[in-house]
């Protein structure tokens, strides 16, 4: 499966998100995409393997204390 370039990825993502944007706007997305993707990838640190998310769920809300 050939790896896709940013242009193809952004095209697909905009379609998946059902967004129609102007050519210049899309050009900006294509330019920015690689850095955005690497910023996101950089968060998958090995030391986080067993770390819980910072947002937790409270089932009692909306019930009388």
């Amino acid at each position: 499966m050939p790896t896709l370039d940013s242009e193809a990825i952004v095209t697909g993502l905009l379609a998946a998100a059902q967004l129609t944007v102007s050519p210049q706007e899309k050009a900006t997305f294509v330019k920015d995409y690689p850095l955005m993707r690497s910023n996101a990838d950089a968060l998958y640190l090995a030391e986080l393997e067993f770390v819980e998310p910072a947002v937790t769920f409270d089932p009692t809300v909306y019930y009388p204390a």
Binding site: A16, A17, Y44, A46, E49, F50, E52, P53, V55, T56, F57, D58, P59, T60, V61, Y62, Y63
Partner: protein, 469 residues
């Protein structure tokens, strides 16, 4: 198979020294030896350590005033929860074996041990607590003791078949979208997914961080209450653990349901291929609960599809965050259903995940409003009595047929108890849901129902035909 089917009966027998802990544990291992190779209950057995623990229990019983709510009771641990003995595999080639070794006993394991429970071994699970068996992987295929052509259900598979076959009297399962309640339903036993945060889940490999629960599986609601008394309570090691006071869940089992209003949602339309035996069984259960003093009214659970979807999106996304590095580097080492299931998370954007959490809050509000009009809600646990191992149905079919993920979205406690059998002898199951941290009322209803029914004491035919030394 031991003639003591439930933990509470076994405890009485031990206290009245009609049986020793050593004999009880030996009977359990004998039952396992007779059927495990066919049923796929265990991944690892700790015979030596278990028998030593049983001997210690006998010493304490002999000394006169036995402490320990589960003293001498053989219990199994789903192999996704860490124990001092052995390694934890999550029934996967992928999990780093050092993980469990580094932790030793998870909080829940330590609590069972401290209560005198005898840890018999590590029970089979679906890989990383999700998906269905994969014959191409070097692990046992969990089969249903009521019909070995059928799946035990998952993902706490070995705990379900272990209790049903008498290999253990109780055990731990985990439930992110139904993984305690489905194997308990298919194997004809009781299982409790308590309120999110009721039982600390540190020392357990995560599937869905904001959905996971560790809970008891045993033959009876009373046994689940006995185990919950030991398992429940805050622990700082789990950021999701709730600082809610723990009640004596056994003391609450009064057998009397007078004054309770129970809302019934038959969920008749959620899955086309519904087992015809379910509605008559529900009708009988309603009659029984009414006779016990409860008022049963019809209700409609709000946002059924939407909240089920929210659980789906949340658990897939949270699981993918955990598994991303391994899915990227060793895709084929995973079971087919696990990698495709967790891999399905690619369909969801960050915004989808956030939106799912907004829908969960809307669901919480709507369900809280319903619980102002009823004290409990009951539904059939599933639209089917199970799947045969060679046509397990697609992911979507299983997702629609099992009526469990909805309650992980909102975190309410949900107990399942056997309510009969279908026309080919597979168990049927009733789900009882309560307000957050009101496990007492949920267990009281389950226990009261089991005082007037004996489905939870039925023994799979294969067990009686098996010669037990």
């Amino acid at each position: 198979m031991s003639d003591y089917l439930t933990i509470s009966d076994a405890l009485d027998a031990l206290r009245d020294n009609k049986i020793t802990a050593t004999e009880l544990v030996q009977d359990a291992f004998a039952a396992a030896d007779a059927v495990d190779s066919e049923l796929g209950i265990y991944l690892a057995r700790f015979d030596e350590q278990a028998l030593a623990a049983a001997a210690e229990a006998d010493r304490i019983y002999a000394a006169g005033d036995p402490a320990g709510a589960l003293l001498g009771i053989p219990l199994g641990i789903k192999d996704i929860i860490s124990t001092l003995e052995g390694e934890t595999t999550a029934q996967s080639l992928v999990l780093d074996r050092e993980w469990g070794a580094a932790i030793g006993d998870a909080v829940v394991t330590a609590r069972l041990r401290a209560a005198g429970g005898v840890i018999t071994g590590k029970l089979t699970t679906m890989e990383y607590a999700t998906g269905v068996p994969d014959p191409t992987k070097p692990f046992p295929i969990p089969k249903n003791p009521w019909n070995t052509d059928y799946w035990t259900g998952g993902s706490s598979s070995g705990t379900g078949s272990g209790v049903a076959s008498g290999a253990i009297l109780g055990g731990l399962g985990t439930d992110t979208g139904g993984s305690i309640r489905i194997p308990a339903a298919f194997c004809g036993i009781s299982g409790l997914k308590a309120t999110f945060g009721r039982v600390p889940k540190s020392g357990c490999v995560p599937l869905g961080y904001s959905l996971d629960n560790i809970g008891p599986m045993a033959r009876s609601a009373r046994d689940c209450a006995l185990m919950l008394n030991v398992l429940a309570g805050y622990d700082a090691s789990d950021p999701c653990a709730a600082e809610q006071p723990v009640e004596d869940y056994v003391a609450g089992l009064t057998g009397d349901l007078s004054g309770l209003t129970i809302g019934l949602d038959r969920l008749a339309l959620v899955y086309a291929d519904r087992d015809p035996a379910i509605d008559p069984a529900i009708d009988a259960a309603v009659k029984a609960l009414t006779a016990l003093g409860a008022k049963v009214v019809d209700v409609t659970l709000p946002l059924w599809d939407e909240l089920s979807a929210a659980t789906r999106i949340t658990s897939r996304s949270e699981a993918f965050a955990y598994h991303a590095p391994d899915l990227q580097s060793r895709w084929d080492d995973y079971f087919e259903a696990t990698r495709q299931g967790v891999g399905a998370a690619v369909a969801f954007s960050g915004a989808d995940y956030v939106q799912a959490q907004r829908v969960r809050r809307v669901g919480q509000k709507a369900l809280a409003a319903l619980f102002e009009t009823v004290d409990l809600v009951i539904t059939p646990t599933s639209s089917v009595a199970g799947w045969s191992l060679d046509e397990l149905g697609s992911m979507t079919e299983r997702f629609l047929a099992m009526h469990t993920g909805y309650f992980n979205a909102v975190g309410n406690p949900a107990l399942v108890v056997p309510m009969g059998f279908n026309d080919i002898g597979l168990p049927l199951s009733l789900q009882v849901v309560g307000r957050p941290f009101d496990e007492t009322t949920v267990l009281r209803a389950g226990d009261a129902f089991q005082r007037v029914s004996d489905f939870h004491l039925a023994v799979p035919p294969m067990m009686s035909s098996v010669a037990v030394a």
